[in-house]
Amino acid sequence: MLVQALGQAMALGMHIPDGFLSAPVALLWWVLTVAALAVAVQRVQGFDERRVPLMGVMAAFIFAAQMLNFPVLGGTSGHLLGGALAALLLGPWAGMLVMACVIALQALLFQDGGLLALGANIFNMGVATALVGHGVGMPLIRAAGGKPWGLIAAGFVAAWLSVMVAAFLTSLQLALSGLAPAVVFPAMLFVHAFIGIGEGLITVAALAFVATTRPDLVPALADSVDASALGRAMSRGAMLTVTLIGLAIAVGLTLISPLASVHPDGLERVAEDHGFIERARDPLYNLLPDYTIPGLDGPLSTILSGVIGLLIVFALAYGIMLLIRGRREPGPKTPG
């Protein structure tokens, strides 16, 4: 259990604990989250009252589904974040509320993510994933015009993107709170480009399963997908192809991304935004750093420091995993 929990914490790395976010950053995202959830509550109350027990049980489902994992590499395992899946199955607003409940429960019951950081965590993993999952996924599914490959590709892209957006937002909040963006952004996005593949696969598979076995549960999907054709298309070969394409995209993007960020865009923008915030509250706070790496300059140092940071973190994390695993599981291993 400890090994699994550790693996999850590392594989996701997204439940920000308290202590990492500066108070203004945490409070800002609380405001954003409360606003988004207020809209969601209003939208959902328009539906029939049956959805309250449904959404509560769905939150428990996402929570339990996150336990189902499959071994990927070394000690890490692929498992579900669930935001895109919840949004595609239940709609964006209900999905958002379901994810908010899941993340709040994780914070309260497991201390998986902090209380002050809960606003940011709900926004990253609930609000943003639901909006991206639904906003990207549904138009793509409709555009595919009922072809099973359309559902597979759309679900995969939506789920992968939702994980990447969540990773980006997490990095942004950490960077605004004082962690070096040159390390945080490459590390988070690199890791999650791969984690997103697992998310995409599981989301697609679960969508296809539900659309073929109980299409009546998800009218939005059933209307736009031919269930019998989908059953045939969801072969092992199709899954393997999707995996390989996704892997290729992820590797390609991670190779491009540090080079791209050398040019004035993402990282610089963050630094500028941050500089602005820092100036704005200069009289009260002096705890934020500026983002020059001592003894290093230029684009090469950005990439190198990112890669080195990543390697150090992973070497340490992997070492701890091996230690615990070695002590805990001397006998034959079970998969998962």
């Binding site: 108070a23 029939d48 027990p53 449904l54 509560g56 489902f61 420091s305 150090i312 973190v313 291993k333």
Partner: protein, 265 residues
């Protein structure tokens, strides 16, 4: 693997902290976590003062400091991310690590920032643990409701908590079924390539979803037959007693004073 028993952090004891109203505990916990976030890096005396307050409450709670301290390491993996602060924060160099083409410089400011983040995280987790170890989940839900969380969300959280254990059991049965059909030799992983493993998981997640959905339909039918109309009724929350209000104000004032001193001294 008795996972479900480890899901509930509540520790049943008879103590003044347990007896305290959950609203007071929730507000004080949030205030303490906020105060920690507001304290600038390196103000050790302020952090120690907050730790003293927290540990005083832990000792009075009869939960056992060992349990709180042990569980507080849950955030440890994330603490690794803070390690990068040591070499990226500008400051007086303490140590140079030559690594190929470039040198990592450990700075004093970096070490201070790293230690501050770790200490803040550790204390915040302990505060949250103390809250959940001394309050039943339903009490926390009631406190959230009376502090203004919408009834829909409170009801959803209640349902999620109630059926969490049921669905986690369901998920464990699925995992056990998979493991019992996928025998592994020592040193060899069971099952096929990654696509095959993902394919097996497909059915598991989908099955879990359909079962959860059907369960929620049965729950709804059962609630309707017990005259559920979409409204949740409960007793109005009692108002806080004078001593509870006093404790709340004193605690908040103490925390505010610590933060204020950390800034201006």
């Amino acid at each position: 693997m008795a996972l479900t028993s480890s899901l509930d952090p509540y520790v049943d004891r008879d103590s003044p902290v347990h007896a305290l109203d959950a609203r007071v505990k929730l507000l004080l916990t949030l205030a303490l976590v906020l105060a920690l976030a507001l304290i600038p890096a390196g103000r050790w005396s302020a952090m120690i003062a907050i730790a003293a307050l927290l540990w005083w409450a832990v000792l009075r709670s009869a939960v056992g400091p060992g349990l709180i301290l042990r569980r507080a390491f849950i955030a440890a993996p994330f603490a690794l991310a803070a390690l990068t602060l040591v070499v990226t924060r500008p400051g007086a160099p303490l140590l140079r690590l030559p690594l190929g083409p470039l040198t990592l410089t450990v700075t004093d400011a970096g070490l201070v920032a790293f230690a501050s983040v770790i200490l803040k995280t550790w204390l915040s987790v302990q505060a949250a643990l103390l809250l959940m170890a001394t309050s039943r989940f339903t009490e926390v839900l009631g406190a959230l409701r009376s502090l203004g969380l919408p009834a829909v969300l409170v009801a959803m959280l209640g349902f999620a908590y109630r059926y969490l254990f049921v669905l986690v059991d369901e998920a464990e049965r699925l995992l056990r079924a998979r493991d019992s059909r996928a025998a592994a030799l020592p040193g060899r992983r069971a099952g096929g390539p990654i696509a095959w493993r993902a394919g097996v998981l497909e059915g598991m997640v989908g099955t879990l979803f359909v079962r959860a959905y059907e369960r929620s339909e049965r729950i709804h039918a059962a609630m309707l037959s017990r005259s559920y109309t979409g409204e949740f009724r409960s007793f109005p929350p009692r108002s806080l007693t004078t001593s509870e209000q006093g404790l709340l104000i004193a605690g908040a004032a103490l925390l505010a004073a610590i933060v204020w001193l950390a800034y201006w001294r």
